[in-house]
């Protein structure tokens, strides 16, 4: 059945994300919180995480482009991103944020610029996988709805 094949593809994708370190056990916690009463919970959290992350990364880019960097503002944004990535289980993004904060503490502009690039890279990699994951979930849902009708 098409839905079964899609579900296997989805499980394979998510497992590979865990294996690569993109996701940690917090994502499993989110998956366990999704049930019949909240079928779109993971998608909702992931979507909000992506929206939030992009907003934060845009602000961080602006701040790092300034001649004089306000490290307290940079740190505040990185802290937010670290917090939300931690809640979603976005392990590599979280780890990149931890490194970024250390450079902020040192007021190390070069380090911060490098760290920001790492965070962006990790986020983009994760976002791409999340997009595929949500597309597969959406297709599975569509098949299951069709079958019920």
């Amino acid at each position: 059945m098409a839905a079964t094949a899609l579900r296997e593809q989805l499980n394979g994708l998510v497992n590979s994300m865990f294996a690569e370190g993109l996701l940690d056990q917090q994502f499993q916690q989110l998956q366990m919180l999704q049930d019949g009463s909240t079928p779109g919970f993971v998608a909702e959290v992931v979507t909000l995480f992506c929206e939030d992350s992009e907003r934060i990364l845009t602000e961080l880019t602006k701040l790092m482009d300034q001649a004089v960097v306000d490290y307290s503002k940079v740190d505040a944004y990185v802290h937010q991103l670290k917090g939300s990535s931690s809640s979603v289980g976005a392990q590599n993004v979280k780890l990149a944020c931890i490194q970024f904060r250390q450079f902020c503490e040192e007021n190390n502009k070069e380090g911060c610029v490098r760290a920001l690039n790492v965070v962006k890279h990790e986020y983009c990699h994760l976002r791409s996988k999340f997009e595929t994951m949500l597309q597969l979930e959406s297709r599975i849902q569509a098949y299951e709805n069709k079958q019920q009708n």
Binding site: L33, T38, L48, D52, S86
Partner: protein, 167 residues
């Protein structure tokens, strides 16, 4: 009975709701649309979550949805303090550390100086001993690393007498 209230983006009081019960103290709340959101569980027990990041609030909301307690949310420490000054009462408060306007340390201090004896559980993703000490010194009862798992949440609710799960 479970009441879920959504708040529009303008500031006004929606309504007040009083229940008198011989074994449960009066339950009353009013809604202030300044970053507040409330749900009321059937036990009448209420938890206040003070957390600025929406994703974190979303996850906690879901974690608590099976726990039969009402949840109110404040986006920063000042809103939490204002809720208390408005006369709202809670059985447990989860307090994040880093928030705009007023952080968790300051909010905890102010709540204690207002005479609030509700247990306050400090939450932070940084778990340095100095962090923990500062929160306890401010008046928090306990310190918990974020993100909170379901098991940890159940343990905390049980410890403070709020663990009454739905059938």
């Amino acid at each position: 009975m479970h009441i879920l209230l959504h708040q529009p983006p303008v500031s006004f009081y929606i309504w007040s709701f009083f229940v008198l019960n011989s074994t449960i103290a009066r339950i009353c709340f009013s809604l202030h649309c300044d970053g507040g959101r409330a749900s009321m569980g059937s036990t009448g027990r209420r938890v206040l979550l003070v957390e600025d990041i929406e994703i974190n609030r979303m996850v906690m909301r879901r974690l608590l949805s099976d726990s039969n307690v009402g949840l109110e949310e404040a986006e920063n420490g000042k809103i939490a303090v204002d809720f208390i000054k408005q006369g709202r009462t809670y059985d447990l408060i989860f307090m994040d550390r880093d928030m705009p306007v007023m952080n968790g340390h300051e909010a905890t201090k102010q709540l204690r100086s207002l005479g609030v004896t509700t247990p306050i559980i400090a939450l932070s993703s940084d778990c340095l001993p100095s962090d923990r000490d500062r929160f306890i010194h401010a008046g928090a009862n306990a310190f918990q690393a974020k993100p909170l798992s379901k098991i940890e949440l159940v343990r905390i609710l049980t410890e403070y007498g709020l663990n009454i799960t739905r059938a």
